[in-house]
């Protein structure tokens, strides 16, 4: 039981990365009906931007010019990196997706993949091949709750990701821009005729998705403080799987499926040898999709979906 609970805690943390990244996929999908394949690499870029920002803030703080406590640095790192990374997302949209809006979707998928490769390689050129380690901004404190070890970092990671998901939900439900997004997801052709600025809404969608990916990147850096330029590939593809599994374009579905994927991976590793993790996790996904081909919350396959 204790082992189970311990793994539950780990799975919550692991799943929150997937959930945050999957949200970005899902949001873009709901409007453009295509998956932003560069998203995993935006997650990586976000982590690196977070690394740069936190190093800068730490230097600023320790030089005495602007003394700040470490938790404030962390908060500012997250906010500032989210802001910066959202521009990366908008640039990706402008370069890779906007020119191809009327092209077949597979072509847009290819540009996304290629932009991802460019981001990885560009990072490799800028930062070199060595891995960088994320600065430890908060002291790890471990609490023992009835035999289950919980660190303050884990609590913070899960809380921040849930908070961001909730904020996104509120944004989409309550604000005018969120309403524009929902309307556009409902009908991509007519809503722009009603005076909703198409390009702005799409750019905003990419910006929000990228900001969430950046948050995931920083949280990942806090939990596993080693960054390398290819870390986004596997995470990106797995979160993509989660986004599909949740049902395309569903915020709730993407979050749940992200956590579910995290749980599956952690619990498979708990029961079986950890090398079998991918094998079993993906076999489960294959089975789910075979019997429920449109995910948990998606609409069933119909001829209406354009390809």
């Amino acid at each position: 039981m204790v082992i189970f609970l311990q793994n539950m805690v780990n799975a919550l943390q692991w799943g929150s990365f997937y959930a945050l990244i999957a949200l970005g996929y899902s949001m873009v999908y709901s409007i453009l009906m295509l998956f932003n394949f560069a998203h995993g690499d935006i997650f990586m870029v976000g982590a690196y931007i977070g690394f740069g920002v936190s190093i800068g803030l730490l230097a600023l703080s320790s030089s005495g010019a602007l003394p700040m406590p470490n938790w404030l640095i962390l908060v500012m790192t997250i906010l500032f990196s989210m802001f910066l990374t959202s521009f990366v997302g908008m640039i990706v949209e402008r370069v890779g997706y906007r020119p191809l809006r009327n092209a077949p979707r597979a072509s847009a998928a290819i540009t996304g993949l290629m932009i991802g490769i460019i981001l990885e390689t560009g990072n490799l050129i800028l930062m070199g091949a060595r891995r960088v380690s994320f600065p430890s901004l908060i002291e790890t404190a471990t609490y023992n709750v009835g035999g289950v070890f919980v660190t303050n970092k884990k609590i913070m990671i899960v809380l921040v990701s849930l908070l961001l998901t909730l904020a996104l939900h509120q944004f989409v439900r309550r604000t005018k821009w969120g309403m524009a997004m929902r309307a556009m997801a409902f009908d991509f052709a007519v809503v722009p005729l009603m005076g909703v600025p198409l390009n702005t809404v799409i750019a905003l969608t990419f910006a929000i998705g990228s900001a969430l990916a950046a948050a995931a990147g920083i949280l990942f850096g806090i939990a596993y403080p080693v960054l390398d330029p290819y870390m986004g590939i596997l995470f990106g593809w797995k979160a993509f799987v989660a986004a599909i599994l949740g049902g395309r374009g569903s915020i709730l579905g993407a979050t749940l499926a992200g956590f579910l994927l995290g749980f599956t991976e952690i619990f498979v590793a708990m029961i079986f040898p950890s090398t079998l993790r991918d094998l079993i996790a993906y076999s489960i996904i294959l089975l789910i999709l075979t019997f429920r081909p449109h995910g948990f919350f998606g609409e069933p396959y119909s001829a209406r979906l354009r390809l």
């Binding site: 998956f35 370069v95 890779g96 020119p99 191809l100 092209a103 077949p104 597979a106 072509s107 847009a108 998928a109 290819i110 540009t111 993949l113 290629m114 932009i115 490769i117 460019i118 990885e120 390689t121 560009g122 490799l124 050129i125 590939i233 596997l234 593809w237 993509f240 799987v241 599909i244 599994l245 395309r248 090398t275 079998l276 993790r277 991918d278 094998l279 993906y282 076999s283 996904i285 294959l286 999709l289 075979t290 081909p293 449109h294 995910g295 396959y301 001829a303 979906l305 390809l307």
Partner: protein, 426 residues
């Protein structure tokens, strides 16, 4: 404007050169290079014969670019230009005579010529032979993916998985039966028998890949598009992870020491067989049914197309050739490990398919050759190569979203036709 017209009139001089003329010209050029290439390279100031049309030298030593261009012009451009131009009349006569023969015989003659060119060209050094073999394998792999992504209109991510299945099955066959290894024990059959049973190894690999394709094909009855992409992606992860965990095939360390059976003629013949069978497949009734399923599945099934059968045949067929390509790949490099068949490989082959053009055999050949050669040529740039190739591909996607040569049939008869009546009138 004036320069375009000059170029047009210049090019018009060669517009009536039939294919056989070009083949003769190319054969002449490569023979010439084989005979006098070394001294000529020294004469124009190059250290040795440039391996890939001078592309490899240009980026390593930019100062030698004029020399390399001069060499290429002297060795390939000039002989080919003169020989083809001068030989228009006899070449057309020959083409007409060949054209009257049964189409099979004609094609065999042409393919023999093509092989002779490759053979002489690749004899110059081992690097050329390796690049040529890998390019031919890339053509097979790209074609097999184009059947699904182009002709059937799905987004399959599973082809590296099929290739891995083929590579491992063929490797286990050849290593287990014909080679003394620590992990499979002593050879069961005399190694002299090996090359004759190599096709069996490849076909077994192809069949295993086709069997694996059932896992992707069956869900494709109920779902399309993104969900199928995920299913195929999950398949890729599963295959890779399975191989990594199978101690029988040495897990992540990979298999090495495959016998050296995949020589140039073998790879060439298999590639020809692949192009021939895929070209016939996509031009057959079932190929047209495949296009119908892509464009509108409901309408296709209303027009009596058996969509399930079509999909499953396409998947099995495509996976079979991917498996063959994998088996050849393993025997060319004589080493495979599971990480070869990952996302990176997927991105590469997708790049080849979409660069060349969807729904087109020509396109796949062009895409595979150009991305392979570009990859080799940009090798001196090291990591910057992975900025230039993606950028190029993005540009192609923006200006030609379906690829360079999309939706074009490969019509062998029109290729082989003489460009001029044998009587001589224009």
């Amino acid at each position: 404007m004036a320069s375009t017209t000059t170029f047009r009139t210049f090019r018009a001089g060669w517009s009536r050169v039939p294919l056989i003329g070009w083949l003769f010209g190319a054969l002449l050029a490569v023979t010439l290079e084989r005979l006098v290439g070394g001294p000529l390279a020294l004469a124009v100031g190059l250290p040795k014969i440039p391996a890939l049309f001078g592309l490899d030298i240009m980026l390593k030593k930019p100062l030698l670019i004029p020399n390399a261009v001069l060499y290429v012009l002297l060795v390939y451009g000039l002989p080919m230009g003169i020989a083809t131009r001068a030989g228009i009349a006899p070449a057309n006569r020959l083409a007409a005579r060949l054209f009257r023969l049964p189409i099979v015989v004609t094609t065999v003659v042409y393919i023999g010529f093509l092989y002779a060119i490759f053979h002489v060209w690749a004899e110059v050094n081992d690097y050329r032979a390796l690049v040529l073999k890998l390019t031919l394998i890339a053509i097979m792999f790209t074609l097999s993916l184009n059947v699904i992504n182009g002709y059937m209109g799905e987004f399959s991510c599973s082809h590296p998985g099929f290739m891995a299945l083929g590579a491992y099955c063929a490797s286990v066959f050849s290593l287990g039966l014909f080679v003394d290894t620590r992990f499979f024990g002593t050879a069961l059959l005399p190694p002299a028998l090996g090359p004759f049973l190599f096709p069996v190894a490849l076909v077994l690999g192809g069949l295993l890949a086709a069997a694996g394709a059932l896992i992707v094909a069956v869900p494709s009855f109920r779902t399309r598009g993104d969900y199928l992409a995920i299913i195929s992606l999950a398949f890729l992860f599963i295959v890779k992870s399975l191989i990594e965990n199978l101690e029988y095939v040495r897990g992540p360390r990979g298999l090495s020491g495959q016998p050296d059976w995949a020589n140039l003629p073998t790879v060439f013949l298999w590639t020809v067989a692949c192009i021939w069978s895929i070209n016939n497949f996509v031009r057959s009734t079932i190929g047209k049914a495949l296009n119908a399923v892509r464009d509108n599945e409901l309408a296709a099934s209303a027009m009596t197309v058996n969509t399930r059968r079509t999909k499953i045949v396409a998947f099995l067929f495509s996976a079979f050739w991917a498996g063959i390509a994998g088996g050849l790949f393993a025997h060319v490099l004589r080493y495979v490990n599971p990480s070869t068949f990952g996302i990176q490989n997927l991105a590469e082959v997708l790049a080849m398919v979409y660069f060349g053009g969807l729904n087109s055999v020509y396109g796949s050949i062009v895409g595979a050759v150009s991305i392979s050669l570009l990859g080799e040529a940009l090798r001196p740039l090291e990591i910057f190569k992975w900025i230039i190739i993606p950028l190029l591909l993005i540009l192609v996607m923006i200006f030609r979203p379906t690829g360079l040569i999309a939706f074009k049939d490969l019509d062998v008869t029109s290729l082989l036709r003489p460009k001029q009546n044998p009587g001589g009138e224009v």
